[in-house]
Protein backbone atom coordinates (compact mmCIF):
# COMPACT_ATOMS: atom_id res chain seq x y z
CA UNK A 1 0.00 0.00 0.00
CA UNK A 2 2.75 2.35 0.92
CA UNK A 3 4.60 1.64 -2.28
CA UNK A 4 2.12 3.85 -4.14
CA UNK A 5 3.34 6.97 -2.35
CA UNK A 6 5.58 8.16 -5.13
CA UNK A 7 3.13 7.72 -7.96
CA UNK A 8 1.37 10.78 -9.25
CA UNK A 9 -2.37 11.04 -9.59
CA UNK A 10 -2.00 11.58 -13.34
CA UNK A 11 -0.05 8.41 -13.88
CA UNK A 12 -2.87 6.15 -12.81
CA UNK A 13 -5.86 8.09 -14.10
CA UNK A 14 -5.84 6.20 -17.34
CA UNK A 15 -5.98 2.94 -15.46
CA UNK A 16 -9.26 3.63 -13.66
CA UNK A 17 -12.46 2.01 -14.85
CA UNK A 18 -14.61 5.02 -14.03
CA UNK A 19 -14.45 6.52 -17.52
CA UNK A 20 -11.92 9.15 -16.69
CA UNK A 21 -13.45 10.44 -13.45
CA UNK A 22 -10.27 11.22 -11.53
CA UNK A 23 -9.09 9.74 -8.27
CA UNK A 24 -10.28 11.79 -5.36
CA UNK A 25 -8.56 10.32 -2.33
CA UNK A 26 -5.00 10.94 -1.24
CA UNK A 27 -2.15 9.54 -3.24
CA UNK A 28 -1.37 7.13 -0.45
CA UNK A 29 -4.63 5.35 -1.14
CA UNK A 30 -4.40 5.18 -4.86
CA UNK A 31 -5.72 2.14 -6.62
CA UNK A 32 -8.31 1.67 -3.96
CA UNK A 33 -10.29 4.85 -4.20
CA UNK A 34 -11.57 5.12 -7.74
CA UNK A 35 -15.07 6.49 -8.14
CA UNK A 36 -17.17 3.44 -8.83
CA UNK A 37 -20.08 3.18 -11.29
CA UNK A 38 -22.62 3.95 -8.57
CA UNK A 39 -20.74 7.07 -7.41
CA UNK A 40 -19.90 8.65 -10.75
CA UNK A 41 -22.77 11.13 -10.52
CA UNK A 42 -21.62 12.20 -7.07
CA UNK A 43 -18.08 12.94 -8.27
CA UNK A 44 -19.31 14.65 -11.43
CA UNK A 45 -21.43 16.86 -9.16
CA UNK A 46 -18.43 17.67 -6.99
CA UNK A 47 -16.64 18.90 -10.11
CA UNK A 48 -19.59 21.23 -10.81
CA UNK A 49 -19.92 22.40 -7.21
CA UNK A 50 -23.14 20.46 -6.60
CA UNK A 51 -23.99 17.72 -4.10
CA UNK A 52 -25.78 14.68 -5.44
CA UNK A 53 -27.31 11.99 -3.26
CA UNK A 54 -29.57 9.08 -4.24
CA UNK A 55 -33.34 8.86 -4.16
CA UNK A 56 -35.38 5.71 -4.62
CA UNK A 57 -37.91 6.04 -7.46
CA UNK A 58 -39.86 3.20 -5.89
CA UNK A 59 -40.52 4.42 -2.36
CA UNK A 60 -39.07 7.93 -2.45
CA UNK A 61 -36.53 7.39 0.31
CA UNK A 62 -33.26 9.26 0.06
CA UNK A 63 -30.08 7.19 0.27
CA UNK A 64 -26.36 7.80 0.64
CA UNK A 65 -24.63 8.53 -2.70
CA UNK A 66 -22.81 5.20 -2.63
CA UNK A 67 -25.95 3.03 -2.19
CA UNK A 68 -26.74 0.49 -4.89
CA UNK A 69 -29.99 -0.80 -3.42
CA UNK A 70 -32.53 1.25 -1.46
CA UNK A 71 -32.14 0.53 2.27
CA UNK A 72 -35.91 0.85 2.79
CA UNK A 73 -37.47 -1.18 -0.04
CA UNK A 74 -34.46 -3.00 -1.56
CA UNK A 75 -35.12 -1.59 -5.02
CA UNK A 76 -32.16 -0.82 -7.28
CA UNK A 77 -34.04 2.02 -8.97
CA UNK A 78 -31.96 4.73 -7.33
CA UNK A 79 -31.61 8.09 -9.04
CA UNK A 80 -29.16 10.86 -8.35
CA UNK A 81 -30.84 14.00 -7.04
CA UNK A 82 -29.34 17.26 -5.87
CA UNK A 83 -29.34 17.66 -2.10
CA UNK A 84 -30.62 20.82 -0.42
CA UNK A 85 -27.22 21.18 1.22
CA UNK A 86 -28.57 21.73 4.72
CA UNK A 87 -28.46 19.63 7.86
CA UNK A 88 -27.05 19.41 11.37
CA UNK A 89 -23.88 18.09 13.00
CA UNK A 90 -24.51 14.57 14.33
CA UNK A 91 -20.97 14.06 15.62
CA UNK A 92 -17.45 15.29 14.85
CA UNK A 93 -13.79 15.30 15.75
CA UNK A 94 -11.20 18.01 15.47
CA UNK A 95 -8.00 16.53 14.06
CA UNK A 96 -4.65 17.69 15.46
CA UNK A 97 -2.38 15.01 13.95
CA UNK A 98 -2.66 14.64 10.19
CA UNK A 99 -2.64 11.23 8.50
CA UNK A 100 -0.16 12.37 5.85
CA UNK A 101 1.90 15.54 5.33
CA UNK A 102 -0.49 16.82 2.67
CA UNK A 103 -3.04 17.65 5.37
CA UNK A 104 -0.64 19.21 7.87
CA UNK A 105 -1.08 22.82 6.78
CA UNK A 106 -4.81 22.64 7.52
CA UNK A 107 -4.48 21.45 11.11
CA UNK A 108 -6.55 21.69 13.21
CA UNK A 109 -9.57 20.80 11.09
CA UNK A 110 -12.87 19.18 11.95
CA UNK A 111 -14.39 16.12 10.29
CA UNK A 112 -17.69 14.58 11.18
CA UNK A 113 -21.03 13.04 10.35
CA UNK A 114 -23.80 15.37 9.18
CA UNK A 115 -27.47 14.51 9.24
CA UNK A 116 -28.75 16.07 6.03
CA UNK A 117 -32.26 17.49 5.73
CA UNK A 118 -33.10 14.56 3.43
CA UNK A 119 -32.54 12.18 6.36
CA UNK A 120 -29.25 10.65 5.25
CA UNK A 121 -25.86 10.87 6.92
CA UNK A 122 -22.78 12.17 5.16
CA UNK A 123 -19.16 12.41 6.33
CA UNK A 124 -17.50 15.71 5.57
CA UNK A 125 -15.38 18.62 6.71
CA UNK A 126 -17.14 20.90 9.18
CA UNK A 127 -16.17 24.57 9.26
CA UNK A 128 -17.01 26.34 12.52
CA UNK A 129 -18.09 29.96 12.74
CA UNK A 130 -15.16 32.31 13.29
CA UNK A 131 -13.82 32.05 16.83
CA UNK A 132 -16.26 29.29 17.77
CA UNK A 133 -16.06 25.53 18.20
CA UNK A 134 -17.94 22.84 16.33
CA UNK A 135 -20.84 21.47 18.37
CA UNK A 136 -23.28 18.59 18.02
CA UNK A 137 -26.66 19.76 16.73
CA UNK A 138 -25.34 22.88 15.01
CA UNK A 139 -27.07 23.71 11.69
CA UNK A 140 -24.86 23.53 8.63
CA UNK A 141 -24.86 24.72 5.03
CA UNK A 142 -23.08 23.13 2.07
CA UNK A 143 -19.97 24.79 0.72
CA UNK A 144 -16.88 23.60 -1.16
CA UNK A 145 -13.26 23.95 -0.13
CA UNK A 146 -9.76 22.88 -1.11
CA UNK A 147 -9.01 19.81 0.98
CA UNK A 148 -5.59 18.22 1.43
CA UNK A 149 -4.28 16.84 -1.85
CA UNK A 150 -7.78 16.21 -3.20
CA UNK A 151 -8.88 19.55 -4.62
CA UNK A 152 -12.29 21.05 -3.96
CA UNK A 153 -14.55 18.78 -1.94
CA UNK A 154 -17.97 19.29 -0.37
CA UNK A 155 -17.71 20.74 3.13
CA UNK A 156 -20.25 22.12 5.57
CA UNK A 157 -20.20 25.53 7.21
CA UNK A 158 -21.90 25.99 10.57
CA UNK A 159 -24.53 28.71 10.24
CA UNK A 160 -26.08 30.45 13.21
Amino acid sequence: MEATNNNSVESVQDMTWAEGVPLMAGQYMMGLAEPSPETKDYWQGVKEGRLFIKQCSGCGKHNHPRRIFCTACNSDALESVEAKGTGTVYTFSTVYRAPVPAFEKEIPYSVGVLELSEGIYLFSRIIPEKGKEVRIGAPVQLTFQETGPNGRLPAFQIVG
Binding site: S93, P99, G112, V113, L153
Partner: protein, 405 residues
Protein backbone atom coordinates in the same frame (compact mmCIF):
# COMPACT_ATOMS: atom_id res chain seq x y z
CA UNK B 1 -27.25 -19.76 35.21
CA UNK B 2 -29.74 -20.45 32.46
CA UNK B 3 -29.93 -23.30 29.98
CA UNK B 4 -26.95 -23.67 27.71
CA UNK B 5 -26.17 -24.99 24.26
CA UNK B 6 -24.78 -28.46 23.51
CA UNK B 7 -21.74 -26.57 22.27
CA UNK B 8 -20.93 -25.38 25.79
CA UNK B 9 -17.49 -26.67 26.85
CA UNK B 10 -17.68 -29.29 24.10
CA UNK B 11 -14.51 -27.97 22.48
CA UNK B 12 -11.07 -27.73 24.06
CA UNK B 13 -8.02 -25.66 23.30
CA UNK B 14 -5.22 -28.21 23.70
CA UNK B 15 -2.17 -26.36 22.46
CA UNK B 16 -1.12 -22.77 22.28
CA UNK B 17 1.92 -21.23 20.63
CA UNK B 18 3.15 -17.68 20.39
CA UNK B 19 6.07 -15.80 18.91
CA UNK B 20 6.92 -12.32 20.13
CA UNK B 21 9.24 -9.99 18.24
CA UNK B 22 10.13 -6.41 19.06
CA UNK B 23 12.05 -3.79 17.15
CA UNK B 24 15.17 -4.94 19.03
CA UNK B 25 15.02 -8.41 17.43
CA UNK B 26 15.99 -9.32 13.87
CA UNK B 27 13.15 -8.17 11.64
CA UNK B 28 10.82 -10.97 10.54
CA UNK B 29 7.67 -10.99 8.44
CA UNK B 30 4.07 -11.65 9.37
CA UNK B 31 4.37 -15.01 7.60
CA UNK B 32 7.34 -15.95 9.74
CA UNK B 33 5.76 -14.86 13.01
CA UNK B 34 2.60 -16.87 12.32
CA UNK B 35 4.53 -19.98 11.29
CA UNK B 36 6.57 -19.89 14.49
CA UNK B 37 3.31 -19.66 16.45
CA UNK B 38 1.76 -22.57 14.50
CA UNK B 39 4.69 -24.89 15.03
CA UNK B 40 4.86 -23.96 18.72
CA UNK B 41 1.14 -24.68 19.11
CA UNK B 42 1.37 -28.05 17.33
CA UNK B 43 4.34 -29.00 19.50
CA UNK B 44 2.51 -27.93 22.65
CA UNK B 45 -0.54 -30.00 21.69
CA UNK B 46 1.68 -33.02 21.14
CA UNK B 47 0.00 -34.11 17.92
CA UNK B 48 1.31 -34.94 14.45
CA UNK B 49 0.67 -31.99 12.13
CA UNK B 50 -0.94 -34.35 9.60
CA UNK B 51 -3.79 -34.93 12.07
CA UNK B 52 -4.88 -31.32 11.55
CA UNK B 53 -7.95 -31.21 9.33
CA UNK B 54 -8.91 -27.56 9.74
CA UNK B 55 -6.83 -24.42 9.21
CA UNK B 56 -8.49 -21.11 10.05
CA UNK B 57 -6.49 -17.92 9.66
CA UNK B 58 -6.99 -14.20 9.94
CA UNK B 59 -7.05 -12.14 6.76
CA UNK B 60 -3.79 -11.13 5.13
CA UNK B 61 -1.82 -9.10 7.66
CA UNK B 62 -0.85 -5.50 7.05
CA UNK B 63 2.64 -5.18 5.66
CA UNK B 64 2.37 -8.55 3.93
CA UNK B 65 0.08 -8.49 0.95
CA UNK B 66 -1.16 -11.92 -0.09
CA UNK B 67 -4.48 -12.50 -1.78
CA UNK B 68 -4.73 -16.06 -0.48
CA UNK B 69 -3.29 -15.74 3.00
CA UNK B 70 -4.69 -19.02 4.27
CA UNK B 71 -3.02 -20.88 1.40
CA UNK B 72 0.34 -19.34 2.26
CA UNK B 73 0.07 -20.78 5.76
CA UNK B 74 -1.08 -24.19 4.50
CA UNK B 75 1.67 -24.21 1.90
CA UNK B 76 4.31 -23.64 4.57
CA UNK B 77 2.86 -26.13 7.06
CA UNK B 78 2.91 -28.88 4.41
CA UNK B 79 -0.41 -30.37 5.43
CA UNK B 80 -3.58 -30.99 3.42
CA UNK B 81 -6.57 -29.71 5.39
CA UNK B 82 -10.15 -30.72 4.71
CA UNK B 83 -11.42 -27.29 5.78
CA UNK B 84 -9.33 -24.15 5.41
CA UNK B 85 -10.25 -20.53 5.05
CA UNK B 86 -9.48 -17.09 6.34
CA UNK B 87 -11.93 -15.16 8.47
CA UNK B 88 -11.82 -11.68 7.04
CA UNK B 89 -13.44 -9.64 9.80
CA UNK B 90 -10.42 -7.60 10.91
CA UNK B 91 -9.46 -8.26 14.53
CA UNK B 92 -12.81 -9.86 15.31
CA UNK B 93 -12.05 -12.50 12.70
CA UNK B 94 -8.96 -13.45 14.63
CA UNK B 95 -11.07 -14.65 17.54
CA UNK B 96 -13.86 -15.91 15.30
CA UNK B 97 -11.40 -18.42 13.79
CA UNK B 98 -11.87 -20.40 17.03
CA UNK B 99 -15.64 -20.36 16.57
CA UNK B 100 -15.39 -21.81 13.06
CA UNK B 101 -12.89 -24.38 14.28
CA UNK B 102 -15.19 -25.35 17.17
CA UNK B 103 -18.12 -25.84 14.80
CA UNK B 104 -15.94 -27.94 12.49
CA UNK B 105 -14.78 -30.32 15.23
CA UNK B 106 -18.26 -30.52 16.75
CA UNK B 107 -19.74 -31.41 13.37
CA UNK B 108 -17.19 -34.21 13.21
CA UNK B 109 -15.82 -32.92 9.92
CA UNK B 110 -12.31 -32.68 11.38
CA UNK B 111 -10.71 -33.94 14.60
CA UNK B 112 -8.12 -31.21 15.05
CA UNK B 113 -8.03 -27.64 13.82
CA UNK B 114 -5.45 -24.90 14.08
CA UNK B 115 -6.24 -21.18 14.24
CA UNK B 116 -3.53 -18.61 13.71
CA UNK B 117 -3.03 -14.89 13.44
CA UNK B 118 -0.32 -12.35 13.90
CA UNK B 119 1.31 -9.44 12.17
CA UNK B 120 4.65 -7.67 12.28
CA UNK B 121 3.27 -4.72 10.31
CA UNK B 122 4.74 -2.05 12.61
CA UNK B 123 8.23 -3.28 11.67
CA UNK B 124 7.58 -2.78 7.97
CA UNK B 125 4.98 -0.05 7.35
CA UNK B 126 3.85 3.26 8.84
CA UNK B 127 0.82 2.02 10.78
CA UNK B 128 -0.54 5.49 11.50
CA UNK B 129 -0.66 6.23 7.80
CA UNK B 130 -1.79 2.84 6.56
CA UNK B 131 -4.39 2.01 9.18
CA UNK B 132 -6.79 4.86 8.45
CA UNK B 133 -6.92 3.81 4.82
CA UNK B 134 -8.00 0.33 5.89
CA UNK B 135 -10.66 1.55 8.29
CA UNK B 136 -12.26 4.35 6.31
CA UNK B 137 -14.37 4.78 3.19
CA UNK B 138 -11.79 5.78 0.62
CA UNK B 139 -14.26 7.87 -1.40
CA UNK B 140 -16.41 9.50 1.26
CA UNK B 141 -14.30 9.65 4.45
CA UNK B 142 -10.57 9.33 3.77
CA UNK B 143 -10.30 12.32 1.38
CA UNK B 144 -11.14 14.62 4.30
CA UNK B 145 -7.92 13.69 6.10
CA UNK B 146 -9.09 11.12 8.64
CA UNK B 147 -6.85 9.26 11.01
CA UNK B 148 -7.79 6.15 12.96
CA UNK B 149 -8.39 8.18 16.14
CA UNK B 150 -10.54 10.65 14.15
CA UNK B 151 -12.79 7.79 13.02
CA UNK B 152 -13.24 6.37 16.52
CA UNK B 153 -13.62 9.90 17.88
CA UNK B 154 -16.93 10.15 16.03
CA UNK B 155 -18.25 7.48 18.39
CA UNK B 156 -16.53 9.01 21.40
CA UNK B 157 -17.92 12.50 20.83
CA UNK B 158 -21.47 11.25 20.46
CA UNK B 159 -21.21 8.81 23.39
CA UNK B 160 -19.84 11.49 25.72
CA UNK B 161 -22.53 13.91 24.53
CA UNK B 162 -25.45 11.53 25.06
CA UNK B 163 -24.35 10.18 28.44
CA UNK B 164 -22.45 13.19 29.78
CA UNK B 165 -19.21 11.27 30.13
CA UNK B 166 -16.20 13.33 31.25
CA UNK B 167 -12.62 12.91 29.99
CA UNK B 168 -11.44 12.33 33.57
CA UNK B 169 -13.81 9.37 33.88
CA UNK B 170 -12.42 7.83 30.70
CA UNK B 171 -8.86 8.48 31.87
CA UNK B 172 -9.28 6.06 34.79
CA UNK B 173 -9.30 3.20 32.28
CA UNK B 174 -5.86 4.17 30.97
CA UNK B 175 -4.56 4.47 34.54
CA UNK B 176 -5.79 1.00 35.55
CA UNK B 177 -4.67 -0.70 32.32
CA UNK B 178 -1.16 0.67 32.83
CA UNK B 179 -0.84 -1.02 36.24
CA UNK B 180 -1.35 -4.45 34.69
CA UNK B 181 1.15 -3.71 31.91
CA UNK B 182 3.88 -2.85 34.39
CA UNK B 183 3.81 -6.50 35.51
CA UNK B 184 3.80 -8.09 32.08
CA UNK B 185 7.17 -8.90 30.46
CA UNK B 186 5.88 -8.43 26.89
CA UNK B 187 3.95 -5.20 27.46
CA UNK B 188 5.01 -2.22 25.36
CA UNK B 189 4.67 0.10 28.38
CA UNK B 190 6.19 -2.21 30.98
CA UNK B 191 9.05 0.18 31.73
CA UNK B 192 7.07 3.42 31.46
CA UNK B 193 5.77 3.62 35.03
CA UNK B 194 2.33 4.38 36.36
CA UNK B 195 0.27 7.23 34.94
CA UNK B 196 -2.33 9.47 36.55
CA UNK B 197 -5.63 10.90 35.38
CA UNK B 198 -3.85 14.25 35.02
CA UNK B 199 -1.21 12.65 32.76
CA UNK B 200 -3.98 11.45 30.46
CA UNK B 201 -5.77 14.81 30.45
CA UNK B 202 -2.49 16.62 29.72
CA UNK B 203 -1.36 14.32 26.92
CA UNK B 204 -1.37 15.55 23.34
CA UNK B 205 -4.77 15.85 21.66
CA UNK B 206 -4.82 13.63 18.55
CA UNK B 207 -8.43 13.93 17.41
CA UNK B 208 -10.87 15.46 19.89
CA UNK B 209 -11.95 14.13 22.31
CA UNK B 210 -9.19 11.49 22.03
CA UNK B 211 -5.77 12.22 23.51
CA UNK B 212 -2.54 10.29 23.18
CA UNK B 213 -2.98 8.43 26.48
CA UNK B 214 -6.61 7.63 25.61
CA UNK B 215 -5.21 5.65 22.68
CA UNK B 216 -3.63 2.28 22.16
CA UNK B 217 0.02 2.25 21.34
CA UNK B 218 1.20 0.39 18.26
CA UNK B 219 3.29 -2.56 19.44
CA UNK B 220 6.87 -2.01 18.31
CA UNK B 221 7.00 -5.39 16.66
CA UNK B 222 4.47 -8.14 16.39
CA UNK B 223 3.06 -11.23 18.00
CA UNK B 224 2.08 -14.44 16.28
CA UNK B 225 -0.42 -16.64 18.09
CA UNK B 226 -1.89 -20.03 17.28
CA UNK B 227 -4.08 -22.55 19.06
CA UNK B 228 -4.91 -26.17 18.32
CA UNK B 229 -8.41 -27.28 19.22
CA UNK B 230 -10.31 -30.56 19.34
CA UNK B 231 -13.42 -32.07 20.94
CA UNK B 232 -13.35 -32.04 24.72
CA UNK B 233 -13.49 -35.84 24.91
CA UNK B 234 -10.24 -36.08 22.96
CA UNK B 235 -8.36 -33.65 25.20
CA UNK B 236 -5.74 -35.05 27.59
CA UNK B 237 -4.89 -33.54 31.01
CA UNK B 238 -1.25 -32.93 30.05
CA UNK B 239 -2.48 -30.63 27.26
CA UNK B 240 -3.87 -28.29 29.98
CA UNK B 241 -7.17 -27.94 28.12
CA UNK B 242 -9.18 -24.74 28.23
CA UNK B 243 -12.80 -25.10 27.14
CA UNK B 244 -14.87 -22.92 24.84
CA UNK B 245 -18.07 -22.18 26.77
CA UNK B 246 -19.76 -19.82 24.37
CA UNK B 247 -19.14 -17.59 21.40
CA UNK B 248 -20.85 -15.02 19.20
CA UNK B 249 -20.06 -12.49 16.51
CA UNK B 250 -21.68 -9.39 15.08
CA UNK B 251 -20.65 -7.30 12.10
CA UNK B 252 -22.61 -4.08 11.70
CA UNK B 253 -20.71 -2.21 8.97
CA UNK B 254 -17.37 -1.69 7.36
CA UNK B 255 -17.22 2.10 7.48
CA UNK B 256 -18.38 4.49 10.15
CA UNK B 257 -20.85 6.55 8.07
CA UNK B 258 -22.62 3.41 6.96
CA UNK B 259 -23.20 2.37 10.56
CA UNK B 260 -25.56 5.37 10.71
CA UNK B 261 -27.59 3.92 7.85
CA UNK B 262 -28.22 0.69 9.76
CA UNK B 263 -31.57 0.58 11.54
CA UNK B 264 -34.37 -1.78 12.52
CA UNK B 265 -31.91 -4.45 13.69
CA UNK B 266 -29.92 -4.89 16.91
CA UNK B 267 -27.77 -3.16 18.01
CA UNK B 268 -29.17 -0.35 15.85
CA UNK B 269 -32.97 -0.50 16.19
CA UNK B 270 -32.55 3.22 15.65
CA UNK B 271 -29.37 4.68 14.12
CA UNK B 272 -26.78 5.24 16.85
CA UNK B 273 -23.08 5.42 17.66
CA UNK B 274 -23.44 4.40 21.29
CA UNK B 275 -24.09 0.64 21.30
CA UNK B 276 -21.73 -1.63 19.38
CA UNK B 277 -22.04 -5.12 17.94
CA UNK B 278 -20.23 -6.29 21.08
CA UNK B 279 -23.65 -6.28 22.75
CA UNK B 280 -25.12 -8.60 20.13
CA UNK B 281 -22.05 -10.86 20.08
CA UNK B 282 -22.02 -11.08 23.87
CA UNK B 283 -25.73 -11.94 23.99
CA UNK B 284 -25.04 -14.94 21.73
CA UNK B 285 -22.02 -16.02 23.78
CA UNK B 286 -23.78 -15.78 27.15
CA UNK B 287 -26.78 -17.69 25.77
CA UNK B 288 -24.59 -20.50 24.45
CA UNK B 289 -22.75 -20.74 27.76
CA UNK B 290 -25.85 -20.31 29.92
CA UNK B 291 -23.93 -17.67 31.84
CA UNK B 292 -24.34 -14.04 32.83
CA UNK B 293 -21.72 -11.34 33.36
CA UNK B 294 -21.75 -12.19 37.08
CA UNK B 295 -20.18 -15.57 36.25
CA UNK B 296 -17.15 -13.99 34.56
CA UNK B 297 -13.84 -13.68 36.47
CA UNK B 298 -11.67 -11.94 33.84
CA UNK B 299 -12.39 -9.68 30.86
CA UNK B 300 -9.98 -9.09 27.98
CA UNK B 301 -10.95 -6.70 25.18
CA UNK B 302 -9.14 -5.53 22.08
CA UNK B 303 -10.70 -2.09 21.78
CA UNK B 304 -8.06 0.60 21.35
CA UNK B 305 -9.36 3.72 23.11
CA UNK B 306 -10.50 4.56 26.65
CA UNK B 307 -14.07 5.47 25.61
CA UNK B 308 -14.39 2.22 23.65
CA UNK B 309 -13.33 0.25 26.73
CA UNK B 310 -16.08 1.99 28.71
CA UNK B 311 -18.62 1.23 26.00
CA UNK B 312 -17.38 -2.38 25.94
CA UNK B 313 -17.94 -2.75 29.69
CA UNK B 314 -21.54 -1.68 29.06
CA UNK B 315 -22.10 -3.69 25.90
CA UNK B 316 -20.58 -6.83 27.44
CA UNK B 317 -23.06 -6.49 30.29
CA UNK B 318 -20.90 -5.47 33.25
CA UNK B 319 -22.97 -2.35 33.74
CA UNK B 320 -25.95 -0.71 32.08
CA UNK B 321 -25.69 1.53 29.01
CA UNK B 322 -24.60 4.98 30.14
CA UNK B 323 -23.46 3.75 33.55
CA UNK B 324 -19.93 2.80 32.56
CA UNK B 325 -18.70 6.08 34.02
CA UNK B 326 -20.07 5.17 37.45
CA UNK B 327 -18.77 1.61 37.20
CA UNK B 328 -15.26 2.81 36.37
CA UNK B 329 -15.30 5.74 38.78
CA UNK B 330 -16.44 3.50 41.67
CA UNK B 331 -13.52 1.09 41.25
CA UNK B 332 -15.26 -1.43 38.99
CA UNK B 333 -12.03 -2.15 37.12
CA UNK B 334 -9.61 -1.26 39.92
CA UNK B 335 -6.31 -3.13 39.54
CA UNK B 336 -6.32 -3.82 43.24
CA UNK B 337 -9.82 -5.15 43.84
CA UNK B 338 -12.06 -4.63 40.82
CA UNK B 339 -13.03 -6.85 37.91
CA UNK B 340 -9.72 -8.02 36.34
CA UNK B 341 -9.90 -6.09 33.06
CA UNK B 342 -7.22 -6.28 30.36
CA UNK B 343 -4.84 -8.21 32.62
CA UNK B 344 -1.82 -7.74 30.34
CA UNK B 345 -2.40 -3.99 30.09
CA UNK B 346 -4.77 -4.12 27.15
CA UNK B 347 -4.33 -2.25 23.87
CA UNK B 348 -3.68 0.97 25.76
CA UNK B 349 -0.60 -0.28 27.61
CA UNK B 350 0.27 -3.80 26.47
CA UNK B 351 0.11 -2.34 22.99
CA UNK B 352 -1.57 -3.22 19.76
CA UNK B 353 0.15 -5.83 17.66
CA UNK B 354 -2.17 -5.81 14.66
CA UNK B 355 -4.14 -8.98 14.07
CA UNK B 356 -3.06 -10.40 17.37
CA UNK B 357 -4.74 -13.16 19.31
CA UNK B 358 -2.71 -12.07 22.32
CA UNK B 359 -5.71 -10.97 24.41
CA UNK B 360 -7.06 -14.54 24.12
CA UNK B 361 -3.57 -15.88 24.84
CA UNK B 362 -3.60 -13.82 28.03
CA UNK B 363 -7.01 -15.26 29.01
CA UNK B 364 -5.81 -18.83 28.37
CA UNK B 365 -2.63 -18.30 30.38
CA UNK B 366 -4.66 -16.86 33.26
CA UNK B 367 -7.08 -19.80 33.20
CA UNK B 368 -4.14 -22.24 33.22
CA UNK B 369 -2.57 -20.40 36.16
CA UNK B 370 0.37 -19.56 33.89
CA UNK B 371 0.05 -15.79 33.60
CA UNK B 372 3.35 -14.14 32.74
CA UNK B 373 2.18 -10.91 34.33
CA UNK B 374 0.09 -10.70 37.45
CA UNK B 375 -1.87 -13.94 37.97
CA UNK B 376 -5.52 -13.49 38.89
CA UNK B 377 -6.38 -15.76 41.82
CA UNK B 378 -8.14 -18.97 40.74
CA UNK B 379 -10.10 -17.66 37.76
CA UNK B 380 -12.66 -20.07 36.30
CA UNK B 381 -14.06 -18.14 33.37
CA UNK B 382 -12.69 -15.44 31.09
CA UNK B 383 -14.57 -13.37 28.55
CA UNK B 384 -12.60 -12.23 25.52
CA UNK B 385 -13.85 -9.57 23.13
CA UNK B 386 -12.07 -8.88 19.84
CA UNK B 387 -13.09 -6.16 17.48
CA UNK B 388 -12.23 -4.72 14.10
CA UNK B 389 -12.35 -1.04 13.48
CA UNK B 390 -13.98 1.31 13.61
CA UNK B 391 -16.10 -0.67 16.10
CA UNK B 392 -17.40 -2.44 13.01
CA UNK B 393 -17.08 -6.12 13.74
CA UNK B 394 -17.08 -7.94 17.06
CA UNK B 395 -16.42 -11.42 18.37
CA UNK B 396 -16.94 -12.56 21.95
CA UNK B 397 -15.77 -15.88 23.41
CA UNK B 398 -16.16 -17.20 26.93
CA UNK B 399 -13.42 -19.60 28.01
CA UNK B 400 -13.33 -21.85 31.06
CA UNK B 401 -10.86 -24.15 32.77
CA UNK B 402 -13.67 -26.38 34.00
CA UNK B 403 -14.80 -29.34 31.97
CA UNK B 404 -18.46 -30.21 31.53
CA UNK B 405 -21.62 -28.17 31.79
Amino acid sequence: MGSSSVLKNATAIIGMGTKVVTNKDPRITSLQVQLHACHNAIKAAGIDKRQIGGVFTCRAPMGFTALQWNMRIVQELKIVPNLSTEITAHGAGVLATLSYAAMAVQAGVVDYAICCSGCTGPLWVDMIRVNASIESDLQFEAPYGVTTPALYAQWAQRYMYEFDVKPEELAIIAVENRKWALRHPDAAMKDKGEITVEDVLNSKMLASPIRMLDSSTWYRGGIGSAVVITRADKARPEQRPVYISGFGSATTHEWLTDRMHLSGVEPAMTPNLTTTGAKTAADYAYAMAGLTPKDIDIVETSVPFTFANMMALEDLGFCKKGEGKYFVRDGGISYEDGLPFNTNGGYLSFGQPPHGMHMAVEAIEQLRGQARGKQVKNPRRALTHFHGGPLATHAVMILSNEEGL
